[in-house]
Symmetry: C2
Subunit: 112 residues, 2 copies
DNA sequence: TTTAATACATAGAATTATGATGTATTGATA
DNA sequence: TATCAATACATCATAATTCTATGTATTAAA
């Protein structure tokens, strides 16, 4: 597990990216995919993931459809057109930021 | 300028790294070097930098010596032994985190 | 039948960067 | 010489975001 603060600013980008890959995911599914791709190093907390999804919904980046699997509720989230374009700009920003960090901390590693 | 949240968790690592390179720097010098290396994209605010330095001092990672250039005060900060080892672990953590982000968001770019 | 996994939620705490504001010196320029 | 930009520090309230703790409830497996 990483320092709590490192995830800040990247969680929403992660969610945008995963939704753009899968079109339709529910919270717990996002949790599992992040866990898997991060080799168990990012274990999203309920208290992080669900409020984040709600905020992104309020901000118009994602919508959801409720579905009942048996009696269990699922909220399937998907990107809105706004979310789609936010994804692109936020990923670009993150990429740029990481390149900048590389330059500052790891000393011009990526000579692109 | 990047989203405010992206810097969270990385500012102290940046400071640790720059101090380990230069042995001795004052706040404004750190500001200028970060500005330069980031191509003007990270412009540390007084309200971010000075409180961060004070916190790192409280945490025992850095110390300082006051110096007077004419009548102007400067606080030259330097790494303590604790700060030296914190630097190593925090940089490793950040490197690892960035690799994980690569895997999640940019899809296995660095096949190391 | 008990436990782990699934699936959602909220409230309060903690952390940290920012904005706003303040003081004061120094060098350049008009 | 007067003014402005740059230098150099500081604090406080605010904003944003993740985490901890807690809660409810279903389902599958042991």
């Amino acid at each position: 597990m990483y320092s709590k603060e490192l995830l800040k600013g990247t969680l929403s980008v992660i969610i945008l990216k995963l939704l753009s890959e899968h079109k339709r995911m529910y919270g717990y599914e996002i949790f599992k995919l992040v866990k898997e791709r991060s080799d168990e190093k990012i274990l999203l907390k309920d208290g992080s993931l669900y409020p984040a999804l709600q905020k992104m919904n309020r901000d118009g980046l994602i919508s959801f459809e409720k579905e009942y699997i048996g009696k269990r509720v699922r909220k399937y989230y998907y990107l809105t057109p706004e979310g789609e374009s936010a994804k692109t700009t936020h990923i670009e920003e993150l990429k740029d930021f990481m390149k900048t960090l590389d330059k500052i901390i790891f000393n011009q590693l990526n000579p692109i």
